[in-house]
Symmetry: C2
Subunit: 228 residues, 2 copies
């Protein structure tokens, strides 16, 4: 990343609107602070970051407005309506960040992101213009036919489970989105599809995505442990 280049962050928190125990998980409290506020805290703490856009679903617009109004982050944090699919949120974010040179996409439901992960993502993206946090796969992964008979156990070496942050040069991600026709859940794969080279960089096993009950408690313990 060159000097004076602008970095915008898209926090996808709309597709994340499924409810865990009656509370939208990005607004759930994690160690006394809403998940979404924690995510913004971390991005706001990174000096290279200039602007943050949060995409939530329609029902949460007012709640998001209130959350942002109550805070004093040292950079502009705006919000918008995300739409049904994750990609609609990212697309909406891109139109709000047209003046940026670099885009960081992050899942709103990954509150354990760190400034280190963000900074290393920006560094990793420098060469090819696209980078994604990822961790070596620990599960044994098998490929099976429709009859459920195993065809192959994949060699674990060089297999990575992808996370966010994902970092893109603005022109690369916006061009990929302009060509998007099908549903996509991973932005990096969209860039790959149109010939872009994506570099993985070491994510963190504790950079979990809150998806099922128990994840919030788990995140709380991981967070507490980190404080020690």
């Amino acid at each position: 990343m060159e000097k004076n280049q602008k970095v915008g962050v898209i926090i996808a928190a709309a597709g994340e609107g499924r409810r865990m125990n009656g509370v939208d998980k990005v607004f759930a409290s994690l160690a006394g602070r809403p998940v979404l506020a924690r995510v913004i805290d971390v991005f706001a703490s990174v000096k290279a970051v200039n602007r943050i856009v949060v995409l939530v679903n329609e029902n949460n617009l007012e709640r998001c407005r209130q959350l942002i109004a109550a805070e004093h982050w040292p950079l502009p944090v705006v919000y918008g309506s995300g739409g049904q699919r994750r990609q609609d949120s990212v697309a909406a974010g891109l139109t709000l960040l047209e003046d940026c040179d670099w885009i960081i996409v992050h899942d709103g439901a990954r509150p354990l992101v760190t400034s280190d992960l963000i900074t290393r993502g920006l560094q990793a993206a420098a060469e090819t213009g696209a980078a994604a946090a990822a961790v070596p796969v620990t599960d044994t992964i098998k490929l099976a036919g429709d009859d459920l008979i195993v065809k192959e156990t994949l060699p674990r070496a060089n297999l990575w489970a992808v996370q966010t942050p994902q970092v893109f040069r603005y022109d690369i991600i916006s061009r990929a989105y302009a060509r998007l026709t099908a549903e996509v859940t991973d932005d990096a794969s969209l860039v790959e599809k149109y010939g872009g080279r994506v570099r993985l960089y070491q994510g963190a096993y504790d950079n979990i995505k809150l998806t099922s009950p128990g994840d919030l408690a788990r995140a709380g313990i991981l967070l507490e442990r980190r404080g020690k």
Copy 2:
């Protein structure tokens, strides 16, 4: 499985000896009961199961003896020393279960196994003689080169993350182990290697393996939720 066939269970709890917060995780308390006791409870509740062998590491032999002595399971539960690698535990278990027709291998650190998972495993193994619980992969998995540049994002369809229980006809698993030379962490893949056909069956996302701090709390919440 035919009538009168004997089913033996190998609980691999030695390779699982890494410590979480100073306590070996299989002896840690989960909702007031040691993880290992919970695992045995579930297998002991399945009518088709005839014998259980628990393999722990040397340091835990006495602890395991005490745990078993204090319980009254309705079937023989024995224990032994597991050795350094997971496969040493399974091999030791096989020699203790030579009179069995079927072997179920289970990770001691997966206390959320259910009798349903075990029963369906026995059914799934009937045809090919080998079955493994597995869940569809939810992460995006990428294959990268040593330079960390993505080569391919694997199509998620037909990719499975393997769990235990894994069920094998005795002759199939014992023959595979007799030929074993390298390190192996997944018994099903060993059977595949020697030409066996392994059938996957639907595992459960909450059938988690306790590996990192926070997992025990998560397991507690998943367990509590199940009770409702």
